[in-house]
Amino acid sequence: MTRVTRRALLRTVNLVPLVALGSFAWGQGTRREPIRIGCTLPLTGPFADTGVWVQRGYEFWAEDVNARGGLLGRPVEVRILDDASSVERATSLLERLITVDRVDLILGGYPGTSAAAQMLVAERYRKVYISMGGHMASFSRGFKYSFGAPPLMGEWWYNGVWKWLGTIRPADRPMRAAAITLNNAIGQAVRQNMLEGLKRLGIPLVMDELYTLPLPSAEPLVQKAKATGADLFIANGFFGDGVQTVRAMKALNYNPKLFLQGVGSLIPEWVKELGPDGNYVVSGTAIHHRVPNPGMIRLVRAAKQRLGFDEPPQYFLFGYAWAQALEKAVEGSKSLKDDDLVAYLRANTIETIAGKLRFDERGLPEPYEYATQVINGKVELIWPVSARTATPIYPKPPWK
């Protein structure tokens, strides 16, 4: 099959027939029943831009696994249903996958609101659910079957940034901080992390504003921040409002020493749409393609070869990582029974492209500590030092 045809097929068809065909074509020729893995993702609707990347991650993983002989010697089949960005569909479709299609295993959904709702469903049906989670609140419910591998934890978001700031001489650090936060689950979670970090570093927070979407104009917020003289500006928001914020900063000539942005700077569009203005933004992340975790280098190379991109986007990596965690649990416990998988994950450390993960009773691994900075249009890793891909640029150069 040519690469183009394969890509077209992958995009328009549920993986069911394809993977089966694929495993035959690659000469594995297992005559065993395929392992059916089900999940829902937003393939249409407002969250589809990211949902599609998770889908690609899952599908890539499935191809990979089948190329290596499958899981427990059997080919895997990933069935991804479109929940159209609706929480309600996400839960009912997942129930359908579990009770009607009777899939062997399930995978995590997107975004956090859907994942949190699905965590509940998975718990009720006693199926292992590996996902991004819905921030700390969702992991504090006493769920036994949910694991974040890795979770998208707003409450851990800037951990790497605070560590990095800690290595800068106190005299050079920012003197005061101004923050604007998108008032929803993610924004609030990230804000929590910000408050703790600032407190630990002893940086006073002189402005702490919340906003909701749609944001008619970011200028009043930026103006206020500038007026406080804050040299650390933190915008805990998404892409659209992030773009407005950056532009407002430039227009009002606001030059903080350091600019932190929530989750907007991580998606490929940030760099694509903002161009050079998107540079020097610092953020956190849960996973990065340059972190030398087991299998990452191989994955990046294979992704480049088969899918053509140099920098695998975050959510592609997430999808692959979650699926890989499931794979490790299955291979490790040599079982498809969810209770066995849960027991295995609780008792063992697994190695995936997200690192060495050891889960606690909440289903969470150690908090991650990464910091990123957009430099020359690329999302570079600036913390931890051992995994650094570029030297951080601090203070932020003023607007031209």
């Binding site: 969250f47 599609v52 906003y211 103006q223 206020k224 773009v243 532009r247 430039k250 009002l252």
Partner: protein
């Protein structure tokens, strides 16, 4: 004080764009009784067209400013002929029927855009987008200035059409007094054709303007529609002046409130204010 001036200025700029976005929506509503939910879907479509053409170069951007309104005009007339006119012929509750049917069109258009360009967010960036103009202590991002000028252009053209051309005056006549207009020999159908086309064309220009400032994706049209809806009602359905003032008002309030109140209260204040206006003047601020 400069911060107040700065805020008012930004508010006026943003407000004029919102005003253009809403003007066509109100025009169609007043003149034909149609609540055109797909109005802003055309705006988003125009934004995508501009985005796509701009990727070929700056000349692409300017050509989209011509192509988008023209295409929108044609599509507007098409929509009117295929969706609204048949409904008007046999229905009493025109408003509701057109609401549902145009909602269907909106959903279809949204997903068509998603099928072509994907659901991801885009921003329309021009080389000058990243600059700002600074006069005294007040600065305006060039993108905002550019967007606002397109909006003004659109508004002026619309005003000219409605008040200085025969067809435009006919539209207003039909608006105010359909029977009387018919008595004067005004062909209501042709006039409404044109009204629809013009309205959709302004939606297209407004869409391009919005795209210069805000990130957009296929699903954004609903957000923009809500703004248009609110602005038109507050200004008075059928009053171009009312829509204009209302748009400016909404723009200014959103920027100025932040100076005195915690920003998180902006929606509460803005929407409570709008509720207040609607209750005080149930038919809107202006009648004509």
């Amino acid at each position: 004080m400069e911060s107040l001036l700065q805020a008012i200025l930004s508010g006026l700029f943003v407000g004029s764009i919102l005003a253009l976005l809403s003007a066509g929506f109100g025009l169609v509503w007043g003149a034909t009784g149609t609540i055109n939910i797909s109005h802003t879907a055309f705006s988003v479509a125009a934004a995508y067209l501009a985005y796509w053409l701009t990727s070929f170069g700056l000349w692409g951007f300017f050509s989209s400013l011509i192509a988008a309104p023209l295409l929108a005009f044609a599509l507007g007339v098409l929509t009117y002929r295929s969706i609204v006119r048949p409904a008007a012929a046999n229905v009493g509750e025109l408003g509701l029927v057109t609401l549902v049917s145009t909602l269907g069109i909106g959903v279809a258009l949204e997903n068509l855009l998603a099928a072509i360009w994907g659901p991801g967010p885009r921003v329309l960036s021009l080389p000058i987008s990243t600059e700002a103009i600074r006069v005294l202590d007040v600065s305006v991002p060039t993108s905002t200035l550019l967007a606002a000028s397109f909006a003004w252009l659109g508004l002026i053209v619309l005003w000219f059409f409605l008040y200085k051309t025969y067809t435009g005056k006919a539209v207003r006549a039909v608006w105010q007094d359909p029977v009387g207009a018919a008595l004067y020999g005004i062909d209501r159908d042709r006039v409404t054709d044109v009204a629809f086309g013009v309205a959709t064309a302004t939606a297209a220009v407004a869409g391009v303007a919005m795209a210069l400032i805000y990130a957009f994706s296929p699903a954004t049209y609903i957000e923009w529609l809500i703004w248009a809806f609110l602005i038109v009602i507050v200004g008075g359905v059928g009053s171009p002046l009312g829509t204009f003032i209302s748009g400016l008002l909404v723009g200014v309030i959103s920027t100025v409130v932040g100076l005195w109140a915690p920003f998180s209260w902006l929606p509460v204040i803005l929407f409570a204010f709008l509720i207040g206006v609607v209750l005080w003047r149930p038919t809107g601020l202006f009648r004509i």
